[in-house]
């Protein structure tokens, strides 16, 4: 039977654990709103990508399967960016 290298899984686990602590820490540090939002979103995207690439084995799949997953999943994210920015812009006092 094939042997599976588990080292990668533990490294990813460590990274996810540290990023979760960092996310909560950043919220308590009292960083201004915009950098805080950017830091939180980028950490969430890194965490989600780590889970997808290593735990869901996307790293070992063919490029076509990887893209078939990555492209549809990134569309709502772009849409969110545009719509939320629009909503926030309307709220500005002018």
């Amino acid at each position: 039977m094939a042997h599976v290298n588990r080292k990668e899984y533990w490294i990813v686990f460590g990274a996810l654990f540290l990023l979760t602590i960092l996310e909560v820490g950043v919220v308590y540090m009292g960083v201004p709103k915009v950098p805080l939002f950017l830091a939180l979103s980028s950490m969430a995207i890194v965490k989600a990508s780590l889970v997808g690439l290593f735990f869901m084995h996307l790293k070992h799949e063919t490029p076509i399967l990887r893209r078939s997953v990555a492209i549809p999943m990134s569309i709502p994210a772009f849409y969110a960016l545009v719509l939320i920015a629009e909503g926030a812009w309307r709220k500005l006092p002018w």
């Binding site: 996810l16 909560v24 969430a44 889970v51 997953v69 909503g87």
Partner: protein
């Protein structure tokens, strides 16, 4: 014209089918039939079940995307997100729940690794731990909503339908909770089938597919935890 095209197509298809059938008949007897198929030029060795699960997960991601977008638009354009008297969400407790889901994702990959190596007992142990993690998460969510040994969010005044803040919160987290419940049920079926020896001898395809669903639930929670719990609301007086 059309008949010649059809025969030509059949002509190119036949050898592949023959090769696969021959392989299935001899070398890979009793193994997962998908593994006997020659590698696909586009999807490699990914089984039909795995490709199907991935496309289901894409559509499921769009459902979550829709809910999160509605939340983002409502929140981004609101002047006051928290109405007076509504409680703040408990970040520390939910960070614990997040950690629990991450741990259960790790036990899931360890269960799959053990299944690949043909260790049934180890697979059962890690599948059991994964199910336990999911069940604990659901208990934690129940405590958060209704309160166990203390008031829950509903008692504290966060009521579905009373504000956009309350409604989007309950809609998104309970939709995710339904996924966790589905995952726990799914993994319990996989656990029983492993116990019966259905996945012995290299037939670990179903365990990997169940794992995909479980990791997706974890992945969605990472996004929900960040955008629903961590992004702070505007400082209210």
């Amino acid at each position: 014209m059309s008949t010649s095209a059809a025969t030509e197509k059949e002509g190119t298809l036949k050898p592949a089918v023959a090769v696969a059938a021959a392989r299935h008949g001899h070398d890979d007897h009793g193994r997962d039939p998908h593994e006997a198929w020659p590698p696909d030029p586009h999807f490699g060795r990914a089984s039909l079940g795995k490709i199907g699960m991935w496309f289901f997960l894409c559509s499921d991601a769009l459902s979550f995307g829709g809910l999160l977008l509605a939340y983002g638009i409502l929140r981004g354009s609101s002047t006051q997100w928290h109405n007076p008297g509504e409680p703040q969400l408990g970040i520390n407790f939910t960070a614990g729940l997040t950690f629990l889901l991450i741990c259960s994702s790790v036990t899931m990959v360890l269960a799959h690794a053990a299944a690949v190596e043909g260790k049934r007992k180890e697979t059962l142990l890690f599948l059991g731990l994964t199910i336990l993690g999911g069940a604990l998460f659901l208990t934690g969510q129940f405590k958060e909503y209704f309160g166990i040994g203390g008031p829950g969010l509903i008692d504290e005044g966060l009521v579905f339908g009373h504000s956009a803040y309350a409604s989007t919160f309950y809609l998104i987290t309970s939709f995710h909770g339904c996924h966790v419940f589905t995952g726990v049920t799914y993994l319990t079926v996989i656990f029983i089938r492993t116990l019966l020896g259905k996945y012995d001898g290299g037939k670990h395809n179903h365990i990997e597919i169940a794992g995909l669903f479980w990791h997706f639930v974890d992945l969605v929670w990472i996004i929900v935890f960040t955008f629903v719990y961590l992004v702070p609301s505007s400082p209210s007086p």
